[in-house]
Symmetry: C2
Subunit: 390 residues, 2 copies
């Protein structure tokens, strides 16, 4: 199949591109490189040394013998989106080209507005351009499990059938996100559902859990490495814990640590996305997939990282710090995630095994962590946004 990737230079985008190439798909991609700039803005960089886009595309061609078409461009510009679709004529478009950091969106009003405006604009541009140029293609839109929040009831995959005052209906599951970033994904989901309703666009909306890992089986050469963020803005809790353990500083568990989320490895995330692409929804269907393997609380994660770090000869420790976020710290959490399994997805990674690989990699890039150790501790406070001059 011909697959186009929005955000091909990103953590998942690049890993997906080389995975699809190895599976025989034809891949093109577009990226504005803004994540590289935004990570620089907060004083950080990727723990893994990553090549410039053109160099990684050349490396992939040399290694796999397949050319990935890469274009630098910004999906918030409508004409760019139309031209890209016109030039690439894909069967599926995977939209990973959004601002993806919750803390970044919480820095101040400028970052809040920038996050919501750019994310919504790129998605609206995409559905309009698809409708205008290639209405029959399959749009795979990256959302997040964080859209649902942490309700006291089970979380279905997108929709649920309920009875209320003696009548029944199948409705979108209520969303209760935890940051402006997560809300931007909720807004997108509403917009995608509506684009499907009015134009019959074929859309898979992926509610993805937290992704971890430095490696996929497709990263057979250091030149193919994808980025790995570990700072408080761009790295997830798990990444930060690994980086902290490698640096010999305490893992910073926010609050009570009962915050529970769904997790999936990078290798299995790109497997899931490939399965979603190869098994599109029916014509005119809007499909929601919950994409994660297992749920863990933050304190369980810290414990797991602690144990693996010990085995790896490190000296891990755990510190409870006050929670800069506003979130439930002990809660019920039971989201469904059967659809991808029904489509053929099988988990290939355990968190424990993957933690070992991450730590081996980070030990090798220890100097890169060390150079940016001051950006690992929390500094974006959900309750106290900093002033506009930050």
């Amino acid at each position: 199949m011909k697959v186009a990737i929005g955000g091909i230079d990103g953590y998942i985008g690049w890993a997906l591109a080389i995975h699809l190439v190895r599976k025989g798909h034809t891949v093109s991609g577009i990226d504005s490189l803004i994540t590289r700039k935004r990570v620089e803005e907060v004083g950080s960089w990727s723990a893994t040394p990553i090549l410039e886009p053109k160099a990684r595309v050349m490396a992939a061609e040399e290694i796999f013998g397949s050319r990935i078409e890469y274009v630098e461009g910004d999906l918030t510009d409508y004409d760019t989106v139309e031209s890209f679709l016109e030039a690439t004529k894909p069967d599926a478009f995977v939209h990973l080209a959004e601002q993806r950091s919750a803390p970044y969106s919480m820095i101040d009003v400028r970052h809040a507005v920038e996050t919501q405006v750019t994310n919504i604009t790129s998605s609206l541009n995409l559905v309009y351009a698809i409708r205008a140029r290639c209405p029959g293609i399959h749009l795979v839109k990256m959302g997040t499990m964080g859209e649902y929040g942490t309700p006291a009831i089970d979380i279905p995959e997108g929709f649920f059938e309920i009875e209320y005052h003696g009548r029944r209906d199948r409705l979108p599951f209520p969303r209760m996100a935890g940051s402006w970033y997560h809300w931007s994904k909720v807004h997108d989901s509403g917009n995608m559902m509506f684009a499907n309703k009015i134009w019959g666009l074929q859309i898979t909306d992926v509610m993805q859990g937290v992704v971890y890992g430095t490696r996929t089986p497709d990263i057979t050469d250091e030149r193919l490495l994808t980025r790995f963020d570990f700072d408080e803005t761009w790295g997830t809790a798990l990444n930060r814990f690994c980086a902290q353990s490698v640096l010999g500083i305490p893992m910073t568990v926010y609050g009570k640590g009962g915050q529970t989320r769904g997790y999936i490895s990078l290798a299995d995330s790109v497997q899931c996305l490939r399965i979603a692409i190869e098994n599109p929804p029916k014509k005119g269907e809007y499909r929601v997939l919950n994409q994660f393997d297992e749920s863990y609380s933050v304190r369980t994660l810290a414990r797991l990282v602690f144990d693996v770090a010990k085995i790896k000869g490190l000296e891990p420790s755990i510190a409870n710090v006050s929670n800069p976020r506003v979130e439930e710290e002990e809660h019920y959490y039971n989201p469904a995630h059967e659809s991808l399994t029904k489509l053929g997805y099988r988990k290939t990674r355990t968190l424990e095994a993957e933690l070992g690989t991450i730590m081996d990699d980070l030990k090798r890039y220890r100097q890169r962590l060390q150079a940016k150790r001051e950006v690992i501790l929390p500094r974006t406070d959900w309750r106290e946004p900093e002033n506009l001059l930050r």
Copy 2:
């Protein structure tokens, strides 16, 4: 109380301003005058001749002896919002300053993006500026009943308690809006709920039905008239039916005409808003009020307009035209609306009586309708957005 109104030059904004002044409140307001420009953009104007903002403020001062502070400014600029709050120091801020037309948002991708971006930006700017400058004030945010869509179950006021898989929770009611505009209000509601959660802002989110009417008891002089839109982009179905009957052209009922919505008169809308302002929610509460009186189907409205037009000596007729929108044309509709009544709201207008007043007014401004009769028929199609050059 000191009340600030965002969008004070608008249909409801201006009527609310003079209502509050007459009830002894101190009123200030801000407006970018963009609705005037956008109505001009589609080739239309207000059926009622309205004064320029400074002239209407002077007329109100002359008539009521109270000065309304008016500032021209755009809430999508953060510094403007902060300066306005700093200068006016209100007890309550009523946010009516959003793009409010569903068809306008459906014209093409530019209008879709403009609608969602400007609406979301103004609301985010407001909550950040309130938090920075006056976190204790009451924000009254105008939303729409259209956020809920037309589910097959009862619609509560914002939240509902449900049982699912044997567990219970109180959750936001699922939203299923019918245009990019309506979705922008859904996005706002999510953002308002979150601003309340992280900062404890005191917010009333008003889910308002369709507002009708040319008059309130406060419009005691023609210089105090508020705008009244009748074109396909800015006028509601009811407004268009009245204009069409006065012009002697058929009322255009879209599709089967079973589309049912909640309605409220302009006089009672501003009464409700005053009651919400005078009875704020508890400190730290996010409150949702469904603000409408009665539900009517479009075909019932057409029938009511027909009957009143006959009495007024007009020659009304009804034409069913193909529906340019994508919506259920026959559906269940039963939204709750008890909260405002509990706060003291009493309906003072019937639709039938108000229709007579609207038609008397429109007969007087018949020349203004006649001059713009070509913009009454539908031309924005939900399924077929026009090209970018429109």
